[in-house]
């Protein structure tokens, strides 16, 4: 097990090196740091001197090594537009995105688990059939359209819900939270529903098919033959084993949710990391874009590694054969 964890972590460090190489290459190719620092009026000789001093004339690999060292110390450079360290900019926007993802995860868990299990136990029930038909429609509607339609119906036509922003926030130990005020919660409802809409059909189908598969296995048949209570078979014997693959997919999909936050945040003007990313694109703020890449890359790699290690802990066959 120890060897497996070490192997998995080495691999993720390699991936992070690849990601930072891409990031560094972008930084190196787009934009001229000297011009960003001194402007147009400085003479060529002075520029060259500055280039030397900043080490910009060093070989590519040496510069890259220096960059990796800086990044591993948490220094992601300075944003052109905000004139602040990129880390600070991203950290100040992170709570909004994290709260959105958190609320979405709650919706996903509390809706997909019961519905998935129910449709597996009663596959021919009208509700199950309706859910399955609806889930195909669900995956075909892009997140931003769900969001727009929610705004159109509930904000424009009915006027029940606020259409943009985070509402009132409270500062809790430096964390700008919208979860503690009624207004903030009200603002959170539609964005999190919109964000969960793309994943919900996927999860329901996954849970349903896993559960149905397990209900066909020998040990469940044996449990029926023993005359155990239905509820015990469903919720203790079958449900536990359904969870195993579901947890892995869940971990990876939560990472994917971060990608979709860009769309949701744009529609709802939600001041999170995704919104910041698009602003950075509009302002050609390469430094911030690369910092975003590093942070999101690190996030995905960490989530994937943790999920794999947990899966390795639960399922020994993975450890021996390597990756799935």
């Amino acid at each position: 097990m120890f060897a497996f964890i070490i192997r998995r972590i080495t691999q993720s460090i390699l991936v992070m090196l690849v990601v930072s190489f891409v990031g560094f290459a972008i930084k190196n190719q787009i934009g001229d740091p000297i011009r960003d620092i001194v402007g147009e009026r400085v003479s060529v000789a002075e520029r060259e001197a500055l280039r030397d001093k900043l080490g910009l004339n060093d070989p590519f690999m040496i510069q890259f090594a220096r960059y990796v060292k800086k990044v591993s110390h948490g220094d992601l450079g300075i944003s052109f537009h905000h004139a602040k360290p990129n880390v600070d900019v991203i950290l100040s926007k992170a709570p909004a995105t994290l709260e959105l993802v958190f609320a979405t995860t709650l919706i996903l868990i509390f809706v997909s688990l019961p519905v998935g299990v129910y449709t597996a136990i009663r596959p021919n029930n009208w509700f199950s059939k309706f859910t399955m038909a609806f889930s195909t429609l669900g995956v075909s509607i892009p997140v931003f359209l769900t969001a727009i339609m929610l705004i159109f119906v509930f904000s424009v036509e009915l006027g029940w819900m606020p259409s943009y922003g985070r509402g009132e926030t409270i500062n809790v130990w430096g964390w700008e939270s919208g979860l503690l005020t009624a207004d903030g919660l009200k603002h959170l409802i539609m964005p999190s529903i919109a964000l969960s809409s793309i994943m919900l059909p996927l999860f329901i189908r996954l849970i349903r098919s896993e559960m149905m598969e397990i209900l066909e296995t020998e040990y469940i048949k044996f449990a029926w033959a023993k005359g155990l209570f239905r509820k015990r078979i469903w919720f203790v014997h079958a449900f536990k084993n359904t969870l195993l693959p579901v947890i892995t997919v869940f971990g990876v999909q939560i990472g994917i949710l971060f990608a979709f936050t860009i769309l949701t945040e744009t529609v709802f003007q939600w001041q999170g990391i995704g919104f910041m990313f698009l602003e950075a694109v509009e302002r050609s703020d390469t430094s911030l874009l690369v910092a975003y890449l590093m942070v999101v890359g690190a996030l995905f790699v960490t989530v994937n590694t943790i999920v794999d290690i947990i899966y390795g802990l639960v399922n020994p066959t993975i450890r021996i054969t390597g990756r799935k």
Partner: protein, 306 residues
């Protein structure tokens, strides 16, 4: 040619198609949508790219059946005064072109990688598949969004918009090739030790010939199944990119950029600019998905899962 037709007529595929109402319905609708997009220059009442046709005074006219609507514009007009029906038809055309182009590119890349990894095995296999693994650990959408953002910053907005169609095809194609690579590799591994491949090797056929003529055709079922679903995916991704302003420009809108341009005007009551292209997009993706689901069930009952 005739023999192939006879074989197709007797095939299980056609048999189950005829018995499945949803498959027939979605196939028919898709054919109609594709025809509409191919014939867009002929059937659309106005040319949305022709600036002479556009009158800003016509902007935000409601659909014909509403009180403020006029007969001239059936679905109303958009913010710039373009006929919404014509703009939607041209947008549909762009979405389909980019979707199919991107899938062709990713299929080409993925099949090449998958075939070589699967057949050659060893070092080649582990290197190629590691690359695919690394890319797969990041969601396609975020890869596509990031690459297009970098392209836009590197090229500048106006140049990016000029080159938008080929660039989008490349971006979406590059973002999703690992799906094909994995599927093809898996089926190559299944095929390569079968007797017919050994027989071909014994006859002394070259490696290239065995891979291309003997193994490749047998991986096509899997490729076909994922291709339909990938087209739907590519169209959704294109729409998402365009909606974020990283795709087709408003002057040459795809369905996604049309939705983007109309979105602000929802608040002033001009819902049609957003809702109609949105419904068209949903219909397109939904019927491709339905057809893809059906195809998957028919061709590969073993794969039937979520």
């Amino acid at each position: 040619m005739k023999r192939h037709w006879e074989r197709f007529k007797a095939s299980y595929l056609l048999y189950s198609f005829k018995r499945d109402r949803i498959a027939i319905l979605s196939f028919t609708i898709l054919v109609i949508l594709v025809l509409l997009s191919v014939l867009a220059p002929m059937i659309s009442p106005y040319d949305p790219y022709d600036a002479n046709n556009i009158d800003i005074l016509n902007s935000e006219i409601a659909p014909a059946w509403m009180e403020e609507g006029t007969r001239e514009f059936i679905f109303g007009t958009d913010v710039q005064g373009r006929d919404l029906l014509s703009t939607m038809l041209y947008g549909l055309r762009l979405s389909i072109i980019i979707g199919c182009g991107a899938v062709l590119l990713q299929a080409f890349l993925g099949i090449t990688v998958g075939l070589s990894a699967g057949y050659l095995g060893g070092k080649v296999d582990s290197v190629l598949m590691r690359i695919a693994d690394i890319q797969l650990s990041f969601p396609y959408l975020i890869v596509a969004i990031f690459v297009s953002a970098i392209f836009q910053v590197a090229f500048g907005v106006s140049r990016y918009e000029e080159l938008a169609i080929p660039l989008l095809i490349i971006i979406i194609g590059l973002a999703e090739w690992p799906v094909y690579a994995r599927t093809v590799r898996a089926s190559v591994l299944g095929e390569k030790n079968k007797e017919y491949v050994e027989a071909a090797r014994v006859i002394g056929l070259s490696r290239k010939l065995i891979v291309v003529r003997h193994i490749l055709p047998n991986t096509m079922t899997a490729v076909l199944v994922i291709s339909t679903l990938q087209v739907a995916n590519a169209i959704m991704n294109e729409a998402a990119l365009s909606f974020l302003g990283l795709g087709m420009p408003v002057t040459k809108p795809s369905l996604g950029s049309l939705i983007r341009s109309g979105f602000e005007y929802i608040f002033s009551g001009s819902w049609w600019i957003t809702i109609f292209p949105g419904l068209l997009l949903i219909a397109l993706v939904l019927f491709i998905n339905l057809l893809g689901d059906w195809l998957r069930d028919v061709l590969n009952p073993k794969l039937y899962k979520g």
